[in-house]
Symmetry: C2
Subunit: 180 residues, 2 copies
């Protein structure tokens, strides 16, 4: 019982350390040894609490997705889909490493992708439900977010456009083009 609690705590310590690294330095900086140093444990102790580094990453991903959802629902300037999609984009502009982790690094989707994909689509639909947009087409929320993801992909991973202001213009234009 007490043991259980302690185990959960230590697991949480590893998760927190990994999240810190992922947020500040990105996945390239994450390693078993680095987490060991950050937590004061040996580098191998992690393997008593996670099957492998992938599992640790996947747990972080799920938590980040939750953070993202909360950020969108709480910080959007209005309930217009434009502002909500902007809030979504801003989350990843603020934490570009998380975008790479969640959307582009295939290594760490692995076993959990089903659970993860479902949770992502749930978020998309939740945001649309919270917005003032009405559409019969079930696909529209997913498509809209996909389009924004494509924009983020170019901006975050490839520095295109290279300027933030221009990125914002592209974001506006993209939402305009989607005509939702």
């Amino acid at each position: 019982m007490v043991n259980q609690l302690k185990q959960e705590n230590i697991r949480g310590i590893f998760i927190q350390a990994a999240k810190n690294t992922l947020k500040s330095e990105g996945i390239k900086a994450l390693s078993a040894r680095e987490i060991g140093k950050a937590t004061g444990f040996s580098y191998a102790t992690i393997y008593n609490y996670f099957k492998d580094m992938n599992e640790l990453c996947e747990v972080c991903m799920l938590e980040f997705l939750e953070e993202c959802k909360e950020h969108v629902l709480s910080s959007a300037k209005s309930k217009s889909i434009k502002d909500m999609l902007k809030a979504y984009a801003m989350f990843f502009v603020q934490y570009p490493g998380l975008y790479a982790l969640i959307f582009t690094d295939g290594n760490y989707v692995g076993r959990f992708y089903k659970q993860f994909s479902e949770k992502t689509e749930d978020m998309y639909k939740a945001v649309f439900d919270a917005s003032e947009v009405e559409t019969d087409n079930q696909k529209v929320p997913v498509l809209a977010f996909n389009a924004i993801n494509g924009l983020l992909l170019a901006y975050i991973n490839r520095n295109t456009p290279s300027d933030f202001a221009e990125f914002m213009q592209m974001l506006d234009a993209q939402i305009e083009l989607l005509s939702i």
Copy 2:
């Protein structure tokens, strides 16, 4: 003179070997040792012809981008933007590893991203020019491709949707939603 030719040939051998691996097995399977084995050279010989593995990858990326452009311009069913965007998507569905390499693996964009981004946008515009679409908005080609890239990102990197037929439906719906 003869030397120069020989050097170019060996460089080409490494590039070809790397391209084969990237196409068939993706970037995770690529390593200096693996290329050494595939070409019959030692693993360190590559460093006489490329600054590092990144440079080798970047050269491959540029060549793949060219292949992609040729594929779109030659194999699209018609000059409608719908068919051309479909041809674009099909190229990466056929070689999913290349999509990961070109668009999502930040490691290998590195130094060359400017040259590479420009070449990508050139391709987008070339495709639009070759199509029957007319638009005043310079941004439209880039935005349309970004949206398709977002779709590819979900399908290739995250298996969403998990079914090819459904992906094709999403593709149609995305182009529809863009109303171009």
